[in-house]
């Protein structure tokens, strides 16, 4: 039977507080392995190595698909018309000057790329991560009356131009990300690194 009033209330209070603090510490400590086990494993981290693409066979107006970290990467070679089309819809884009940090510094230009005729984009819609589809045609399409070529996300209707810049009034908030990339030789593109690691 517990006495109604403890003989030494201060001591009792201190013991309850001390036990609670130590107990809370133990719970936090015990939670660490369970929380940490959710992180990407070492194996998953190692799978994030850069990947290479041979673009010698990529003709103007075509797109090729490579994989980096399991993300689809679109590589597009512009035609003369599609390069010109990049500046035609500027008023309909929400971030035409690539102010948002969605690209490395060397790609913060009107082409969002190292070389103006080659576009390299992570094909992950910035809305909910679907892979937008490549629609190079100019003119009227099912989803746009004045299409200047680009990418259309079939999931929720987001639109991007050929440089991956997002149109305004669609669910996607930002431009498509440009992955770090550089040219090892004229025709070999390395995705995942900004420059050769020496």
């Amino acid at each position: 039977m517990q006495p109604k009033t403890p003989s030494n209330p201060g001591r009792r209070k201190f013991l309850i507080a001390a036990t609670s603090i130590v107990g809370t510490g133990a719970v936090i400590g015990a939670a660490i392995p369970f929380v940490a086990a959710f992180n990407p494993s070492e194996q998953a981290k190692a799978a994030g190595a850069p990947s290479k693409a041979d673009i010698s066979k990529l003709r103007a107006g075509e797109m090729m698909l490579v994989e980096w970290r399991g993300i689809p990467i679109y590589i597009v070679r512009h035609t003369k018309e599609s390069l010109e089309a990049l500046s035609k819809n500027l008023s309909r884009l929400s971030d035409p000057d690539s102010e948002e940090e969605q690209q490395p510094d060397y790609a913060k230009n009107p082409y969002r790329s190292r070389k103006e005729e080659i576009v390299v984009l992570e094909a992950v819609c910035t809305h909910l991560s679907c892979a937008p589809k490549f629609y190079p045609e100019l003119g009227t399409t099912d989803f746009d009356a004045d299409w200047q070529g680009g990418f259309f996300c079939p999931c929720h209707g987001s639109k991007f131009d050929l440089a991956g810049r997002v149109y305004s009034g669609v669910p996607a908030p930002t431009n498509l990300p440009v992955p770090p990339h550089y040219y090892e030789t004229e025709d070999v593109l390395v995705i995942g690194e900004d420059e050769e690691v020496t």
């Binding site: 998953a44 399991g70 909910l128 589809k133």
Partner: protein, 398 residues
């Protein structure tokens, strides 16, 4: 002999008492109608899902290389594997169909009003667990739709400002949806969520038996009782409700078997055709559709296409999506009406409830079809109608 054994047990555990209290003598209100069948049918479906799920577990392999093939193995090589899988896929759709009917019944007759607030919240919790259970289970066959649905739903977490991206990687356990993600969803689907579901359903039933069942008239049957404290407007659960329920279960199982035998895909609604293609993380299907039971909320998610101030459209869509589900939980506190049943409510209440039902169906349809400007506007209008029911219905009480 049996009586002596029973007495022996009863001295040590309240067996007879529990049995009478929760089953044989539980007073069921008279006047309960069709809408009151969903509850017992949900229990039946829960049992079907548990049993068929355990059997599926015996042959399913939760790795990204073998998950898809193991489903085909169950369908083709395991004796009667196909029927066990169809039980499980059909059961999941039935689960949602019945829980929506069950929830609608609650709104119809004010079954959440005092003193049944906690009962309603517990029921809402089973719905949330069921949503998680449905989503995790949907990913396991590792078809195209499994993969891309996971991709889309997980990305919602990335919409949370500041720490969303890190949280996303933590929950996925990888930089993309991968085998690692699959196995953790598997662990949730077969262990964590079923345990939680059974526990909450049990508490839900205990809570129901504490406050008693509601009825279409909205009458408190406990007000008038006989000399034993049994409500006069009630019948004992056995045999009256048991027989009625068995009859309903019989009809339900006939429909259930008909679907399993003759219509297991449900025209692409119960099992989506795109999911017959193995997951390919480099190729998004033409058109991603969630299972039908999520489409109303999915339509609300993508109805938000405009940013407000610093908040992106994506994040706002996520907020609306969350709010549409959360608001259901607080219905008992939104409803200020002294009237329980829709039978005695005013015309505005009836219109609002009708609006809710229509918006649920329209949004359900819009969530299944590809978006275009007109459909986006429609989705926005019906999202508003959905919320109007919850927020303004009770200002119109007459």
């Amino acid at each position: 002999m049996f009586t002596r054994l029973l007495n022996w047990v009863d001295d040590r555990f309240p067996l007879t008492d529990t049995f009478e209290r929760h089953l044989s003598k539980y007073p069921a209100p008279i006047g309960q109608n069709f809408w009151y069948l969903a509850g017992v049918l949900l229990i039946v479906v829960l049992v079907i899902q548990l049993v068929s799920g355990i059997w599926l577990l015996m042959n399913y392999v939760a790795t990204d290389e073998q998950a898809f093939a193991s489903i085909q193995y169950i369908m083709r090589d395991v004796d009667y594997g196909w029927i066990i899988r169809y039980m499980h896929t059909t059961g999941s759709s039935m689960f949602f169909l019945l829980i929506y009917l069950h929830m609608f019944r609650g709104l119809l007759y004010g079954s959440y009003q005092k003193p049944r607030e906690l009962l309603w919240v517990l029921g809402w919790l089973t719905y949330i667990i069921l949503v998680a259970e449905g989503f995790t289970g949907y990913v396991l066959p590792w078809g195209q739709m499994s993969f891309w649905a996971a991709q889309v739903i997980f990305s919602l977490i990335g919409a949370i400002p500041i720490f969303g991206e890190d949280l996303l990687i933590w929950i996925r356990g990888d930089y993309l949806i991968s085998g690692i993600t699959l196995v953790r969803l598997f662990a949730f689907h077969v262990v964590l969520l079923p345990l939680a579901l059974i526990a909450v359903v049990f508490i839900h039933v205990i809570a129901l038996h504490e406050v008693g069942s509601n009825n279409p008239e909205g009458i408190d049957i406990k007000k008038v009782t006989d000399e034993h404290g049994v409500p006069l407007d009630s019948v004992p659960f056995f045999p009256y409700d048991v027989v009625k329920d068995l009859f309903a279960i019989g009809i339900f199982l006939i429909i259930f078997c008909f679907i399993i035998f003759f219509f297991p895909d449900g025209g692409g609604y119960l099992i989506e055709y795109i999911n017959y293609e193995p997951a390919n993380h480099l190729k998004t299907p033409e058109h991603i559709v969630p299972a039908w039971y999520y489409t109303p909320f999915y339509a609300m998610l993508r109805a938000i296409t405009f940013p407000i101030g610093p908040l992106t459209a994506k994040f706002l869509g996520f907020i609306i999506f969350g709010a549409a589900i959360l608001i259901i939980a607080i219905v008992p506190w939104l409803d200020k009406s002294p009237v329980k049943s829709i039978r005695y409510k005013g015309i505005y209440s009836k219109l609002a409830l009708g609006g809710l039902v229509i918006s649920f169906f329209v949004l359900g349809y819009l969530g299944m079809v590809p978006p275009n400007p007109l459909r986006t506007v429609l989705a926005q209008v019906f999202t508003a109608i959905y919320f109007i029911y919850f927020l303004f219905n009770w200002n119109f009480e007459t």
